[in-house]
Symmetry: C2
């Protein structure tokens, strides 16, 4: 199935500069795809630190299991990613593929296998021949290139309709550091490709512990605030590597260090950028939806309610139909199971108040709301009237395109 | 939008016999529909007991709020139901509509307002003129008829494509009692019609407390085991009334009384029948899906995992595409957040073992599974290998029909 570029894709791809200590090579593995690169080696200089966040799925893939263990060492020399096969639910054979990959990369780069991170995305349940990866590593090491971030983003795509990159800079003390990131989202051409993968690298010098704290926090407010269809992948992987090669950096020992404020903002911003790009390439998406939830009992409650709205098929189909159906938003708030005061509930669509005090807003004029619903970017604001908790989440509409991509075939 | 009869509809509608002490009348209210009855009065003889189960939504409708209070009295003389307007999120105006309805019916039947139960299904957020109901009650009382269960089932439909009835008999001691039930499911022609309503009546003589215990238990294993799209209505209502007019019944004081075994089985069976009919009329449904989950840590965990599978858009679209995509079932088990052993997970589709011990089943032959997926009734069995908890849930596939019904219009 050939998919057209998402109508929600950004006008320009962000060009990422080289990052000292990070180099890239891509090639075709022969695992699944023909005529395109689908194997990525991201090499990090000796001494690079690492942080990671992985799927909460209890059926996590073999590469995820490997990365979780490797993360304990806090060091990274390589990230190896293949697209086309998720190496999930592949039993002991799957574990062997990952171990073989890590060992081969470690041998070639003269590091420990636990410094090699592996990620896979694609079909579930089909072990593949590990030599399709290990046999390519030598060649990849020969062509490593600091500027190939666009090629890296393209190599990890499955049926993403555009490559996702983001870059930011920040000062840590007197030093200027760069952060680059790539991500892939959910696109399907075959069963079970729905993995979110993201890899971020920086030349900042930060201990693994600090890196992990920054990454976990940024993740909560970016990727963990997005949903396409509420189905959690077996393979979701987000890795942040820091080469420490930017010049003139002060030593940082704590994530709370004031001198990290700019870096933290830049990282948060880059992660949000990538997360939103993933949603903008959601399967069959025609509209991008931002849901701002306020007035909840806690930030956690706000996020739960916002995600209940974002995951509701009735809300998502109404948006696809350009219908400002606030009754379905009320329904979703109700089913979220979090504290909300029906008689203080306020709903705004495109900035217009549509419902308040347990009923339709007095003098509600559907005109501007109907016009807003015809656009590509839909803004929904909901205040549930019980506290100060707030959250913003991002999703897309549910269209015939989603059904076509996921249901219109026989494997 | 005119909807064709669901391809999953039962071949025959069950004819319900009269139940001593229960009478029915229907008419057109003028609230929304034209050319069909959309207002139901179910009258119960003085002394009838009642039990009820209602939506867990925190944005529950005005009628649901009323019924929850009325239920404390344990007595029922009338159930008034209208289709076309849910009287949900209608503020104080909505509360007044319900109170006016109950008072008018109580006056006409010479009972207390708290013995009148009200249910509404249809559009959210639009208060309507209560006299459209209260003005019709006198006329309805004049034409009450014990045999009109089919008409009752038809009058509560929104865009259901068939009327849902069920009847069973059972012995309590030497007495033969009858149970009749009607239900409506989720169909949409306008925003926010997705309410599940079910009304069950019997001529058994049972105290309200006993009735409630039997109903709550039966509900857990019937309606609460079904899902069409995972969106909980503001108005879900299930009411069981017992007129006590069957002859020769022994006095029953406890739900655990052995003499209730037959009645309990009949009630459970009737409720499952109605619940399955609701799923078989799910929006856009082309396939009926039964998911049997075994080997979980508890029955509750089993139900959570089964519902995660049943609500997964990726599983549902795969079934629509006649694709035995067990990788997506693995994904759904993983995201359920309940204990499961990946290496002991077993998946059967149409009775054929497709996955076991963390990988595809040895010698797996796709032939019989592909044939099963072409049928209307899909059987999925999953054993998660950690305990003895089990549950069975029912759902339908996710098709272009669902998007068409819920997304292809502008209000």
């Amino acid at each position: 199935m050939e998919l057209a570029r998402s109508p929600l894709a950004p006008a320009h791809t962000q060009d990422c500069p080289a990052i000292a200590g990070a180099r890239i090579a891509t090639t075709n593995s022969g695992i699944r795809y023909k005529g395109r690169d689908d194997l990525l080696l991201l090499e990090l200089a000796p001494g690079s630190t690492v942080a990671g966040v992985f799927t909460r799925s209890l059926a996590s893939s073999a590469p995820v299991d490997w990365c979780r263990k490797a993360l304990k060492g806090g060091k990274v020399r390589a990230i190896v990613v293949n697209a086309g096969n998720a190496n999930a639910f592949t039993g002991k054979a799957g574990d062997r593929i990952v171990a073989d990959t890590a060992k081969a990369a470690a041998k070639a780069l003269k590091c420990k296998p636990a410094e090699v991170f592996v990620a896979s995305t694609g079909v579930i349940g089909q072990p593949f021949d590990a030599t399709k990866i290990t046999g390519k590593l030598g060649g990849l090491i020969g062509v490593l290139d600091g500027g190939a971030w666009g090629k890296a983003a393209a190599a990890i795509m499955t049926t993403d309709t555009f490559a996702k990159t983001a870059t930011r800079t920040a000062k840590i003390g007197p030093a200027m550091v760069t952060i680059n990131g790539i991500a892939k989202g959910s696109g399907m051409i075959a069963p079970d490709m729905a993995t979110m993968l993201a890899f971020v690298a920086t030349d900042a010098a930060l201990p693994a512990k600090v890196l992990q704290a920054l990454l976990s926090k940024a993740n909560e407010q970016s990727f963990n605030c997005t949903t396409v269809d509420g189905d959690t992948s077996t393979s979701d992987t987000l890795i942040l590597a820091a080469t420490g090669q930017a010049k003139g950096q002060p030593k940082i020992a704590s994530a709370g260090d004031k001198r990290l404020d700019g870096f933290r903002r830049a990282l948060d911003d880059l992660m949000r950028d990538l997360a939103i790009q993933v949603v903008r390439d959601g399967e069959g998406a025609e509209k991008f939806v931002q849901i701002k939830l306020t007035g909840a009992a806690s930030d956690k409650a706000a996020k739960a309610i916002a995600l209940a709205i974002a995951n509701s098929p009735l809300v998502k189909t109404a948006i696809a139909g350009q219908d400002a159906n606030w009754g379905r938003i009320v329904m979703a708030v109700g089913k979220a199971g979090q504290k909300a005061d029906r008689d203080k509930l306020k709903i705004r669509i495109g900035g217009t108040l549509v419902a308040t005090r347990g009923a339709v807003a007095p003098g509600y004029d559907e005109g501007p709301v109907a016009a807003h619903m015809k656009g590509r970017d839909i803004d929904i604001e909901v205040d549930v009237g019980v506290g100060k908790g707030k959250a913003t989440v991002w999703t897309c509409d549910l269209t015939h395109g989603y059904i076509r991509i996921n249901g219109d075939y026989r494997s």
